[in-house]
């Protein structure tokens, strides 16, 4: 804390942004490149092999995921409200909104987990040799791989889908763990109107995870 506090007194900081916030922004820039690698791979492989992918909604459950997208956006609102509360020094508001954010985050991961489970049962898996996705409608009519059910897309579809959404989900999970830690710190009275750094950094990470999902949802589910 000494050194961070000392940084605030420095006369030569040229961004006017304190250490923890600058550090988190810089880290998020690297995360942009990470997701670029994954999403870029999806775009490139899909452009080169369009027959290995399916039209929106044929395999993936768009309505459910659209709702999930909405939930994640709600959690961004609760997160920014949490920050606004502690800026005003309202400890109760902070705790309430932080807990809400964490719970919605867990809901998002839960729904995605359920989605994965159902997709896998329909034959939509990342393992190339085992891929035999027949889509939601055919799956409802009979078992995956049943005679007459056409396979939709190819192995690359499953491979890229699970890698992209899986790593996003992992980031959300880590975010949820960090949120609970932030809640714990809040209950210990660590934050105040003068000491918002931890909450602000947590918020930046959480909004970023939401932002990535906004892009991912459009590219993977709607196109």
């Amino acid at each position: 804390m000494t050194i961070a506090a000392a940084a605030m007194d420095r006369g030569t900081s040229s961004f006017g942004v304190y250490n923890v916030k600058l550090g988190m922004w810089v880290f998020l820039l690297s995360e942009v490149m990470f997701f670029t690698g994954l999403i870029g791979t999806y775009i490139i492989l899909r452009f080169a092999n369009p027959e290995q992918f399916a039209r929106p909604g044929e395999v993936l459950n768009v309505p459910l995921t659209a709702a999930n997208t909405f939930f994640l956006i709600c959690s961004s609102v609760t997160m920014v409200k949490a920050y606004a509360e502690i800026e005003r020094g309202n400890q109760q508001g902070l705790k309430r909104y932080l807990v809400a954010t964490a719970l919605i985050g867990m809901l998002f991961v839960g729904i995605q987990g359920v989605e994965y489970w159902k997709l896998a049962h329909e034959g939509f898996v990342p393992v190339a040799a085992l891929y035999k996705a027949v889509g939601r409608h055919a799956a409802e009519a009979g078992e995956a791989g049943a005679v007459g059910a056409a396979v939709l897309g190819g192995p690359l579809y499953g491979t890229t889908f699970y890698t992209m959404t899986g790593f996003h989900g992992a980031h959300v999970t880590i975010g949820v763990l960090c949120l609970w830690f932030t809640v714990y710190q809040a209950y210990r009275g660590r934050y105040s109107a003068q000491n918002v750094a931890g909450v602000e950094a947590m918020g930046l990470y959480w909004h970023f995870v939401d932002l990535v999902w906004i892009i991912l949802f459009t590219i993977v589910y709607l196109i």
Binding site: M1, T2, I3, A4, A5, A6, A7, D9, R10, G11, T12, S13, S14, F15, V17, Y18, N19, L22, G23, V26, F27, L29, S30, E31, M33, F34, T36, G37, L38, T41, I44, L45, A48, N49, Q52, P126, V127, A128, A129, L130, G154, P155, L156, T159, T160, T163, F167
Partner: protein, 592 residues
């Protein structure tokens, strides 16, 4: 303000009571972490060198009786299992593993940590006037991720199937198909180790960038930073944005290997070329990561040795920035022969030739720096000036391979091996030796032995050139890279004498490094005690004690009045002028 002062005092107070484990093993002090990286990476440098010696032995003395080459048993080969060396003869699969691991260990666990893990950590706070990094605990985590990653890489030699053997570039499909490479777990450990190391470097980059932006002492403006710090700053930005792409690619390769995805397998619709693009998008900024810090050190050391300001300081800064920028759009020059779109090849050729310009600006400015100087030929200066000469040779061979048509016969030959070793050893490693000999007194409070340093330098310089210069000829003559037995091809067998000559030179080069090792360890305990500023240099680290205490300057408030290169300033009482010296009436040099 008072809260800061009392917090300072408590920090100084509690430091006395810190137990051994927290003070030296799990330290959050940037200097201790830098030194930890130093010992770790010197160890890996030794390992990488040993692997190269084994490779060179095989290249000089292959067992090919049909062509008249009897071969010689590998020294120490009897200690290795039958899967590596059978009856004194190295197996081809093991040779491929040696090639792969030599490159991987040297790039990721020797040169990168030596340039960045050591010097970004040690120098940045000291040169900008900060008490420590912005995130000291994150810094500690950085080291304690790098170390296990290194151990994992070494452990991969011991698993069934052996270590990764698809080259340090791990091209698909070989790297994702164990049925071709014979390596299962080894390749997977390779991928995981690099992901962990990448994360360690990433955390470091976040720390270095935040620290340099936010924690400079009052008066330390951007254009008063030493070029070492500038170089480390731009390097950190390259690390920050390039490593995640490598991580993504490594993860995809890992999934291909383990859970049966098909990112890079043509059978499943994957694209091997995609791996090459992802890898080299990282790989090219990576080579600038491997050279820029050394360029920074060279600027600082040459100015100090010549007792003159760096020629064209602002141009040097913009050249570093320019190399950082253009370095993002040249990666295809590693792929001219991959079968990629030839129009793309043309684009990459142009951008690659462009990047020679800022490098040339730096070279001319180094010459301008020492021109007419009152030169002190101390050991760091010798290494730094060797950097300039050898980097120029490496850069010139780079111009050849940058030209796509010329690259057609030269790609994947020893010409490229010559190029990369001239820039990585002639450049980076000499820069590292210069940095170690220059900042050793600050780190350990003792001088290294000068005569031994000069002997080490001279032998290294001679044997380095004898080893690598002939490779230009071998490559032009058609000798391919990663070749287990050169004598199997008549057009290469005729050059076998050259290969033997190179091997002997390489062995002597390796042996010469023991002089450095001896000097290093002996000086740790018996070196002449160093003063605060033994080289009569200007930058802020030379105003702290040797070695500096925790917090670097204690409660002393620093203020910077001038740039870092005011050597031989007219009107000054000495031929150097510390950045903290407010001496009135001494004009700042005209360049800024």
């Amino acid at each position: 303000m008072s809260t800061v002062a009392t917090a300072h005092e408590t920090a100084a107070h509690t430091h006395e009571e810190i137990p051994f484990l927290r003070k030296y093993i799990f330290s959050t002090d940037h200097k201790v972490i830098g030194i930890q990286f130093l010992f770790m990476s010197l160890f890996f440098l030794l390992v990488g060198g040993l692997l190269a010696m084994a490779m060179r032995w095989q290249l000089a003395f292959p067992a090919n009786p049909n062509a008249g080459f009897e071969g010689r048993p590998l020294p120490g080969g009897g200690l290795l299992p039958e899967t590596m060396v059978a009856g004194g003869v190295m197996l081809p699969e093991f040779y491929n593993a040696l090639v792969t691991m030599h490159g991987t260990i040297m790039v990721f666990f020797a040169i990168m940590p030596l340039l960045i893990g050591v010097w970004a950590n040690y120098l940045i706070p000291l040169q900008i006037g900060a008490p420590d990094m912005a995130f000291p605990r994150l810094n500690m985590a950085s080291f304690w991720m790098a170390m296990p990653a290194g151990m994992m890489m070494l452990a991969s030699f011991a698993v069934v199937g052996g270590a990764a053997n698809a080259g340090w570039t791990a091209y698909a499909p070989l790297s994702v198909m164990p049925e071709y490479s014979g390596v299962h777990l080894g390749q997977q450990l390779w991928e995981l180790s690099l992901v962990i190391l990448g994360f360690s470097s990433l955390m470091g980059a976040v720390n270095y960038i935040t620290t340099i932006v936010n924690m400079r002492a009052p008066g330390m403006t951007w254009f008063r930073l030493p070029l070492s710090t500038w170089a480390l700053f731009i390097t950190s930005i390259l690390l920050l944005l390039a490593i995640p792409v490598l991580a993504g690619g490594l993860i995809m390769q890992f999934f291909d290997q383990t859970i049966g995805t098909g990112f890079f397998k043509p059978d499943d619709g994957g694209q091997p070329l995609l791996w090459q693009h992802l890898f080299w998008f990282f790989g090219h900024p990576e080579v600038y990561i491997l050279i820029l810090p050394a360029m920074g050190f060279v600027s600082d050391i040459l100015a100090n040795g010549a007792r003159k300001p760096v020629f064209g300081y602002a141009a040097m800064v913009w050249a570093i920035v320019g190399i950082g920028f253009i370095g993002w759009i040249v990666w295809g020059h590693h792929m001219f022969m991959s079968g990629m779109n030839p129009m793309l090849g043309g684009f990459f050729m142009v951008t690659t030739l462009m990047i020679a310009v800022p490098s040339a600006i730096k070279t001319f400015n180094w010459l301008g720096t020492i021109w007419g100087g009152n030169i002190r030929f101390h050991t760091p200066f010798l290494h730094a000036i060797s950097f300039v000469a050898l980097f120029v040779i490496g850069g010139l061979s780079g111009v050849f391979v940058a030209s796509a048509p010329v690259d057609i016969p030269l790609h994947d030959t020893y010409f490229v091996v010559a190029h990369i070793h001239y820039v990585l050893v002639g450049g980076s490693l000499f820069g590292i030796f210069g940095a170690i000999t220059f900042w050793f007194p600050k780190m350990f409070g003792r001088m290294m032995n000068e005569p031994l340093g000069k002997i080490h330098w001279a032998l290294t310089f001679v044997f380095f050139n004898l080893t690598f210069f002939p490779m230009h000829m071998l490559g032009s003559g058609g000798m391919m890279r990663r070749l287990y037995d050169p004598t199997q091809y008549p057009h290469i067998a005729q050059y076998q004498d050259t290969n033997i000559f190179i091997t002997y030179s390489a062995l002597l080069l390796f042996a010469s490094q023991f002089i450095f090792m001896f000097n290093f360890f002996w000086s740790l305990f018996r070196g002449r005690k160093a003063s605060e500023n033994p080289w009569e240099a200007n930058s802020l680290e030379w105003t702290a004690p040797s070695p500096p205490p925790h917090g670097n300057w204690g409660d002393r408030k620093l203020k910077v009045y001038r740039g870092p290169y005011e050597y031989s300033a007219p009107g000054a009482s000495a031929d150097y002028l510390l950045q903290t010296d407010p001496a009135q009436g001494v004009p700042a040099p005209a360049s800024h």
